[in-house]
Point group: C2
Amino acid sequence: MARLSVFGIDGLPEITPGMDLAEMIHDAAGDQGDALQDGDIVLVTSKIVSKAEDCIVELDDVEPSDFATRWSLKWDKDPRVTEVVLRESKRVIRQIGPVLITETHHGFCCANSGVDQSSSGAHGRILTLPVDPDATCRAQRERFAELGVDVAVIMTDTFGRPWREGQTDIAIGIAGMHPLFSYIGQHDPHGHEFRVQEICTADELAGASELVKGNTSRVPVAVVRGFEWEADDDASMAPVLRDSERDLFR
Amino acid sequence: MARLSVFGIDGLPEITPGMDLAEMIHDAAGDQGDALQDGDIVLVTSKIVSKAEDCIVELDDVEPSDFATRWSLKWDKDPRVTEVVLRESKRVIRQIGPVLITETHHGFCCANSGVDQSSSGAHGRILTLPVDPDATCRAQRERFAELGVDVAVIMTDTFGRPWREGQTDIAIGIAGMHPLFSYIGQHDPHGHEFRVQEICTADELAGASELVKGNTSRVPVAVVRGFEWEADDDASMAPVLRDSERDLFR
């Protein structure tokens, strides 16, 4: 029976553009006595990837559109931030009161296109989501392999959801393992087909990682050890992103 | 820094109405060498609670309404099951094609009011969700205390969600700890208020528990050890259930 351990990786410095996150995570894990092992799943908060990949927008350089300006002034928001949120989106899903829920270029549905004003390191700058989270995870997984460990990599972000209060960490990028576990065609001990068809293990792993990372504690990386996964070098988040046509809430 | 371990509790027998789940879980944990400890969080799959609380419907006893019958025949469904789904709901959120998304009497938004046809132990019977999951969790927490351990209890179920494929386990009942962790009023190291206001730790814990329980493995209970929580004897899932008026997707 599976027995997981979940722990954070501490001791990373403030991240700046161009840093080799995989190597830093590998070394920090070793330094704290938790050297990475084959089979580990490394969960990296998107925020430090945005910093390493220079997904930083200087608000002084942003010229807000008329649309962004009118809505922002009505709701006491910075029109330049709204402009960046709209640029990061391919579609507005809901714009009601001060709430702006968008579908990002990647296909993630979330508030404000995942733009982060809270912790970019300086006022006047905001962080956008990494451009291609799957590609980043694949590159990190390859870098970990060069450093001698065969690990899966998941990039996480903190999203709200319909119907329920409170946010949870979910997966926005993956490499090495498929994000879904399928029960399709399997039967329970009584011969019924499973009501549950697919579990999004990637999101459950992301949520588990948040429990040790937290948002105040500056622990941007966690490891889940002991979860069995099959290697899949073509893995991506694409199968998790529901088609608009199949979606009843877009 | 937090370090969690997550493991399943094996060796429970087939559950029948009236069984004392807390005592059985307590004993099974001891038998497998994982005696429960103060501070553990015990996560119980709703299915075994439904069985223990006799939330079992004999389909032969169900008289479907005209509405349930017409829709079911159109989509090749059992009208008696549809009738039970509607009885378990206070409101239909979406009814499109063969999909029926409802708000249950408890206030959970999910497919088919959480009615489970897959594993009720015999054909011709289905399971409904426990009537008052918070109350069940409170009673179990009290029972665990009588048995000598101070644990939090979370009841879990496997729900789908808008926008993303794959289901995840979430919390439907809780006792001992508040389901949300709030950052409201706190600031990050750069003095910004947190973008994230509240994390639904209960749902993240539920998702983590699914990783060791699985749906085929007949491991209906998991324990998370090492997660710090403050005792809250008034805890319930109520703060997680978003008011309809605040919800943009109902």
